[in-house]
């Protein structure tokens, strides 16, 4: 019996090649999309699960809040160094604890080989008890024990030592430390939430020239230490978190503040495996993913699959008219209804099988391209395990039955008498069901067009938005502390070239986050009194404001002409507002305290977007530091006329002043683009998949209209004989579909509108959802539908009616 079904299924596929192709192609493309997205989703949810004991590892994070209002001002993925040993001592449920400190980037040197390295971490000897790392050389138990030890990834080791033995070699870090290579390891997999290239032993920090033992014990304000704990199974995070406030009050009592520590800071627990998708704190090891993105793409995958299934249902049902006679004959010679159903289900399962095999091959071919577009590191291998393969093998059955059941039920209900006598006509119920399906397809397509447009507009908006500062032709270089003594001559040398317009130093530069804050005091009566306003700070020199072309709206910039400026403040308009000044002008000349400083407000600058557009503009204060080593970056404004010459000049100057530091720079607009890279990529991928969904929907429409028209060929013939013009016939044939598109639009508008409204809420600065996007999407869908149908309709309308009428 099955053999007979298979036989006729394959012969039918070959006989109706056009429809089979549309069916198979639509389903294949749909399944490919699903597989690609599944690969992405599986990768996203697999983060950190490669660690054997991932379900027992938690990260401790710290938040700060305004003790009076309770509003949270900052939540870091990191905590201060003294916490770890105290926590371990106090709480028996913490079996082990490990700390990790990002060392950012640094210059490493071995012999004549000198490179700038990124993703450097200080890691303690417990690291390998938490995280699974393939250590190829050295003993993970001891490699990070001694101060001045370092472990390198294979790749980094090869850079310095080539094929020579790296172990026990001495390597220089930042021309400051001499480290002994004690281990080599394979890089962490892409689904890890951090990727150290170089791990320096944590004990190195105890050296007073590096960080200092007492600092580790007492510095409560340097919250940059990633701290992970290992707990037993069945651990209750709520219970431990509940004990934290008392713990903070006990150990931080001597941290000067008129509030109890638990009133202004909190410790939190975060599951290791939740970090990648659920953690969006103000400080993270790397940019994380987002569970919302996973949901969005899951929805797209489902939509695409749904559209492909609807296509299949539509085309198969439409084709049923052609197969009515076969079914009639089968029934006459003894087939029961369930046997007919079984036959058609077999057919659709076969088509699905073919589709999934093709889809799997396509996925394999396309993954490299998807990686390129999405910046991901996906591999089809993630699909090659039984948890995925078993459902995948079942997919053809599910999709096949899902999409084949309706046509099967419909066709098996044919009355043999009628179909064999030629009385058969596709019934009304069937037609309206198909209309529902087509409407659903169009609704999804229109919704996707709207979403894509809004995403695109938001991307565009962020590119074009006036930021309040000039990001063009600004170079950013690291500030090297050894420059402090000779900075003025370094700067003068830079400016000696006409292409170099300005240069300024600061602790942070626009595009990065604003995370540093201290307490603010302003004059109340005749003394400085603390205010509860949360104001962030950046240390900046006299040239910072001008380098970035930031506008001073009141007062003046820091100036070389005022020696008192070493104690002056500049604030932005937002800060002037929260401090209660009536206007920017009103703030000028007022006395203000910030942290341990006390000075005069000399200027107010405009609210420019220091941070990304995801963030609201926050109150900000700039001041000149007492210690020039707190600068981190030099920003250089060059003219756009001769960029290579400017770069050559800066490089030459750099090498003259800093022969031991590799020359490196980046353009600010590149960093700016990186801020939105993940959205850009998301937008691109979204557009691609939405495009595919629309394409498949059109494919289905094309096939369906071909069929509808075939069925009406006699009617068209009669109308032509009676004198209908081609235009009228095309209009007649198109009208039905147009109505469906209109209904689909009405369904899609509110759904897409709501979804995109929610999506835009993620951006502090966002484009408007203009009304015209909606009719535009509707019109696009309408045009596509029209083009598809017209092709068929015109063909039918132009045909010679004599031919179609004679066939009976």
């Amino acid at each position: 019996m099955i053999y007979n079904y298979l036989k006729i299924a394959i012969r039918n596929l070959l006989k109706y090649r056009f429809i089979s192709f549309i069916n198979l192609f639509g389903l294949t493309v749909g399944l490919t999309c699903c597989l690609l997205i599944t690969t992405y989703i599986l990768h996203e949810i697999s983060y950190d699960k490669f660690n054997d004991q991932h379900d027992r590892i938690w990260r401790i994070t710290r938040s700060f809040n305004n003790p009076e209002t309770g509003a949270q001002s900052l939540h870091l993925g990191t905590i201060a160094p003294p916490f770890a040993p105290l926590l371990k001592n106090q709480f028996s449920e913490i079996e082990n604890i490990t700390r990790l400190l990002s060392g950012g980037s640094a210059t490493f040197r071995y012999g004549d080989k000198m490179f700038n390295e990124e993703d450097i971490y200080f890691a303690d000897e417990q690291f390998f008890d938490f995280f699974k790392v393939n250590v190829v050389k050295g003993d993970p138990k001891t490699a990070l024990n001694d101060p001045m030890s370092v472990m390198l990834t294979e790749e980094v080791a090869r850079k310095y030592f080539g094929d020579a033995e790296p172990m026990d070699k001495m390597i220089r870090m930042d021309n400051q430390l001499t480290l002994k290579v004690t281990g080599v390891y394979k890089p962490l997999p892409s689904n890890s939430h951090f990727h150290p290239n170089i791990m320096v032993s944590f004990n190195t920090l105890k050296d007073s020239t590096v960080y200092g033992e007492s600092n580790l014990r007492t510095n409560w304000s340097n919250n940059s230490f990633f701290t992970y704990i290992k707990v037993p199974h069945g651990f209750s995070p709520e219970r431990l978190e509940a004990k934290f406030p008392a713990f903070l009050d006990e150990h931080m009592a001597d941290v000067g503040s008129r509030f109890k520590p638990s009133q202004w800071t909190k410790l939190h627990l975060q599951k290791l495996t939740d970090i990648h998708l659920h953690s969006h704190l103000d400080y993270e090891a790397e940019e994380n993913g987002d569970i919302k993105r996973v949901y969005i793409f899951s929805a797209i995958a489902l939509f695409v699959l749904l559209i492909a299934c609807i296509n299949y249902m539509n085309l198969s049902t439409a084709r049923s008219a052609l197969r009515a006679r076969e079914i009639g004959v089968r029934k006459v010679v003894g087939a029961r209804r369930k046997e007919i159903i079984a036959q058609f289900l077999t057919e659709s399962v076969i088509v699905c099988w073919l589709a999934i095999i093709l889809a799997f091959a396509l996925t394999w071919l396309l993954i490299p391209y998807l990686n390129q577009v999405s910046g991901q590191d996906l591999s089809i291998n993630i699909l090659l395990r039984w948890q995925v393969m078993v459902p995948l093998v079942l997919v053809p059955f599910v999709v096949g039955i899902m999409s084949g059941l309706y046509p099967a039920l419909f066709m098996s209900s044919f009355q043999p008498v009628k179909v064999l006598k030629g009385m058969f006509k596709v019934g009304g119920g069937n037609v309206s069901f198909r209309k529902v399906l087509v409407t659903a397809q169009f609704a999804i397509s229109i919704a996707l067009i709207i979403c894509t447009t809004v995403v695109y507009r938001q991307m565009n908006y962020m590119q074009q938005k006036a930021l309040g500062f000039d990001r063009e032709h600004v170079l950013s270089l690291p500030y090297i502390n050894t420059l402090s003594n000779s900075y003025e001559s370094f700067r003068n040398e830079l400016l000696s070239n006409a292409s170099v317009l300005n240069a300024g130093r600061s602790s942070r530069i626009p595009t990065s986050r604003l995370l540093d804050a201290s307490g603010t005091r302003i004059m109340r009566g005749d003394s400085l009194a603390p205010v509860s306003a949360d104001i962030k700070y950046v240390v900046a020199d006299k040239d910072f404001i001008n380098t970035y072309g930031v506008k001073i709206v009141a007062g003046r910039n820091f100036s070389r002409d005022f020696s008192t400026d070493s104690a002056s403040f500049l604030i932005n308009e937002a800060a002037a507002r929260v401090l209660g000044f009536a206007s920017a002008q009103d703030a000028i000349g007022k006395r203000m305290g910030y942290g341990g400083r006390d000075g005069q407000l000399v200027g107010v600058f405009n609210d420019f977007h220091f941070e990304s557009l995801h963030q609201q503009i926050v109150p900000l204060v700039l001041f000149i530091p007492r210690n020039e080593n707190t600068y981190n970056r030099i920003s250089i404004k060059i003219s756009g006329n001769n960029i290579p010459a400017a770069l050559a000049h800066i490089e030459k100057t750099w090498k003259r002043f800093l022969p031991d530091v590799p020359w490196q720079y980046n353009f600010l607009d590149e960093s700016y683009d990186r801020l939105y890279q993940s959205e850009q990529r998301q937008g691109t991928i979204f557009t691609i998949f939405a495009g595919i969904a629309i394409f498949i929907a059109c494919l289905g429409l094309f096939g369906l209209s071909a069929f509808t028209i075939t069925q009406r060929i006699k009617e068209i013939g009669i109308r032509k004989v009676l004198g209908a013009s081609t235009t009228r016939i095309v209009t007649l044939l198109s009208r039905d579909f147009m109505i469906l598109v209109a209904i689909a639009a009405l369904i899609a508008f509110p759904i897409a509108g709501t979804a995109m409204y929610a999506w835009l809420q993620d951006f502090a600065y966002r484009t408007t959802m203009s009304w015209w996007i909606f009719p535009l999407a509707g019109i696009i869908a309408l045009m596509v539908a029209l083009a598809t149908i017209c092709f068929q309709a015109v063909k039918a309308a132009l045909a010679n009616p004599v031919k179609s009428l004679r066939t009976e």
Partner: protein
């Protein structure tokens, strides 16, 4: 074999009610060859469909082999049909995607005959219909007469007691038509009961008895000698 009493069939559309069979009574004995004649729309095809258990009557009684089948559900009708009744249509109704062999084999598949037995029986019947040399061809590759011989082969492969033929020569030229009529006569002589609807007086003469219908009723019976 067939005993029909007061059979009624009414087709209803929204506005029109058409009486296809009007209290029709009829008896067909085992081994008979009956021709049903009458003008278009007299109800002869409806009668044939009810006899073939493809359609159910709206009233009256239909005894098939002494069993009342008028109210059988679709499944029971299908079961009874596939073991007892073979059909021959004017337009052959062969499945285009199946070869001659596979078309004839189809009824045996649905009655659950084993593959080896099927092969034997199909070959036997194809041989008898002298179409064996065409066994691997598709219907479109055959002439009309050959197609109808395949259809007859399909109708008899299950060794039914009753063959219902609906204008079996309607789409054939006279020599091919005579050939098919001869096949039916042969089958009848071997004991198969045949009920045939036809417009052709010539074909009707092959039968034992002609029933003439008008407006859903029998109006005349001619016994042929």
């Amino acid at each position: 074999m067939i005993k029909i009493k007061d059979l009624e069939k009414i087709y209803r559309t929204e506005e029109v009610e058409t009486v296809a069979l009007n209290k029709l009574s009829l008896e067909v004995k085992e081994g008979e060859f009956v021709a049903v004649m009458g003008p278009s729309g007299c109800g002869k095809s409806t009668l044939l469909n009810i006899l073939g258990l493809l359609d159910d009557p709206d009233g009256g009684s239909f005894m098939f082999n002494n069993i009342e089948v008028a109210h059988f559900n679709e499944r029971k009708r299908a079961d009874l049909r596939k073991h007892n009744i073979g059909f021959v249509f004017q337009s052959f109704n062969l499945i285009d995607e199946l070869t001659v062999f596979e078309n004839v084999e189809l009824p045996l598949i649905y009655t659950g005959v084993k593959s080896a037995e099927r092969k034997k029986r199909v070959e036997e019947v194809l041989d008898k219909m002298q179409i064996m040399h065409r066994r691997n061809h598709y219907p479109q590759q055959l002439s009309g007469g050959q197609q109808q011989r395949v259809a007859v082969a399909r109708a008899v492969v299950n060794r039914p007691k009753l063959i219902l033929a609906d204008e079996p020569t309607g789409n054939l030229d006279s020599s091919n038509g005579n050939e098919v009529m001869q096949l039916l006569t042969d089958l009848n002589e071997q004991g198969t009961t045949i009920v045939m609807v036809t417009h052709s007086e010539h074909d009707a003469r092959y039968s034992h008895r002609i029933i003439r219908m008008l407006d859903g009723q029998t109006v005349l019976e001619n016994i042929m000698v």
